[in-house]
Symmetry: C2
Subunit: 385 residues, 2 copies
Amino acid sequence: MDIERTSKGVCVDGFSAGGLKEGRYGVALIVAETPCKAAAVYTTNTMKASPVVLTAGKTSKGMLQAIIANSGNANACVKGGMEDAKKMCEMAGKMLGINPSMVAVASTGIIGRKIDLGAIEKVALKVSKEMSNAPEASTRAARAIMTTDTKEKSVSFKYKGIEVGGICKGSGMISPKMATMLCFITTDADLDQKTLQDCLTNSVEDSFNMLVIDGCMSTNDMVLLLSSGKVGCNKQDFQILLNHLTKELTRLMALDGEGATKYIEVEVSGAKDKETARKAVRAIISSDLVKTAVHGENPNWGRIAGAMGSVIEYDFEKIDLHYQSGKEKAAVVLKGVMRDLDPARKILKSKELRIIVNLNSGKESAVGYGCDLSCEYIRINAEYN
Amino acid sequence: MDIERTSKGVCVDGFSAGGLKEGRYGVALIVAETPCKAAAVYTTNTMKASPVVLTAGKTSKGMLQAIIANSGNANACVKGGMEDAKKMCEMAGKMLGINPSMVAVASTGIIGRKIDLGAIEKVALKVSKEMSNAPEASTRAARAIMTTDTKEKSVSFKYKGIEVGGICKGSGMISPKMATMLCFITTDADLDQKTLQDCLTNSVEDSFNMLVIDGCMSTNDMVLLLSSGKVGCNKQDFQILLNHLTKELTRLMALDGEGATKYIEVEVSGAKDKETARKAVRAIISSDLVKTAVHGENPNWGRIAGAMGSVIEYDFEKIDLHYQSGKEKAAVVLKGVMRDLDPARKILKSKELRIIVNLNSGKESAVGYGCDLSCEYIRINAEYN
């Protein structure tokens, strides 16, 4: 049975959403008809923003019914941040008629500045009056949490009768080995809380945790999964569906990386273990020199070899290295020997490409997601405040 | 007694040098009157270039008399690289009348391409005929090993009768926790090989290893120290002098970082141990977001807090954060509370500045060196081949 794309976004059966951006602040609300089992993954940055700390305390108990998220301010590294995060939950609880203890809060935007709760309340009030289960409501919520993103990210899929939908934001300050952005996922799958958490943790490991835009780790990353429990299902099916969703959201974030002109996938195979493959992928996709070479459509594969050597041991004379775009594939290095680079130069002109390294030393592999590094990234981040 | 700057570069008493760039390749030669005790530090990249492997084998025996170094090709990740590296030592030995086993070789430039020994020999022959002990010869050698560097780096100092001189190159593919460039140091200090190695290792730790341009680790890094042993001295004095030299070379590389428009020093103090301070410094100076903020003269200090949180634990409510340029110093955060940012904005207009973080949790500190991230970095590296 195939996985089917639907148009609902987070507005799968049992959930409503809304969102609006006015001036500096955007607010998204997501609410379920009934309390939901919840799972979550958070940033591993030690300097966690107050909304992360507050929401993590709630998800540790396993149940949530609503989410309030704002863009424009991260509510991180600021005195009184915890009180402000609590007030946002109370605010949303009151507007949606839900106990504040069942409301998660997430924030994204500049770090180290006091959040303007008055402005947020004004926007949230408007949003709360137009909550809807229609697909457009998910799009509005996705748009409200954008910062430097240029496109909203709202997707959903159906598989064996179960549905899962998600919105996310994330464009810069994105690094691997942690959940790296705000992402809210809803489902009707009836699974216990521990199973939901297992599935989410697994899914994040090969999707969001393999995404790098600039190697900078956020203080505010959060992935929340809420389940209405309306439809019976088994763990394996849900894992397949959830992986499909998180990979698609990851791909959308890589495509929309700050200043990105090219989407890059990196695959390392033939590794002796999974962690070696992941490390190599992350080193390649994180390298400013690899990213600028791709930006310049320049098959400077020596930088790929150097990046791998900074984190793993490997035998250069065993490796194969290809560039691929769609069905076009060019060998650049075969068993350590460089080939004619012209076919690679042609592939590098594509907007979406894959760098494929086979270490030929084992059976494990990993894939990572990222983008090139352009002047636009610098312009965005030189000016962002 | 003060450390005095001299003009000799590597041409301290007992050493001659020469250098020339023609077309794609530059060659530098350095030769001592007599065999020298030698110390060295190399890249920790597992994918070491052939010249690194070959020279490391020689320095492990502790004696050298000459160095041949080329720019234009790294002689890394290429079959037959070791034979080519050996041939370069033979070539230089023959031209300079020295046993090839006493010749070190270093290469820098593009990775993964066959080196053109014929072209190198032609340039080397011209260089070998104009070897000189004059300061200009050190400058020529420094210029010959430049790749994307815009200025040659040749300095020397005198202290208590001993002299030390050095040339280096390095502008991109520079990351901390290893020696990060080519650097050749000469001295007349009479110390045993173990003491020379101890002093070099110590010195590199707080200088080159605290330099970050782009967080990318090279396959070819090498720091060589040759001593003629002409002047008696004690270890402590030599360490002071060597530290002075390596810090100055580090500063010159940071100033000349690829595309740099601003020189940045980062100081983290009040750490519970030295490694915590170093980690925090490296995270800040490596962050593309901190670098772009400085480029934009934007006091977005939240990125500094976020970068530190990605590698160390700290109490945000204890920290002080200042920007400094010359005698001007602006508090941005005091005990976790943000101050007026206007004085910091003024300091950020400077070409050279220092970011100072006091964790107020201990007595250890560290300093790192780097630069901002500009579009010019991307232009250079998109086109480099």
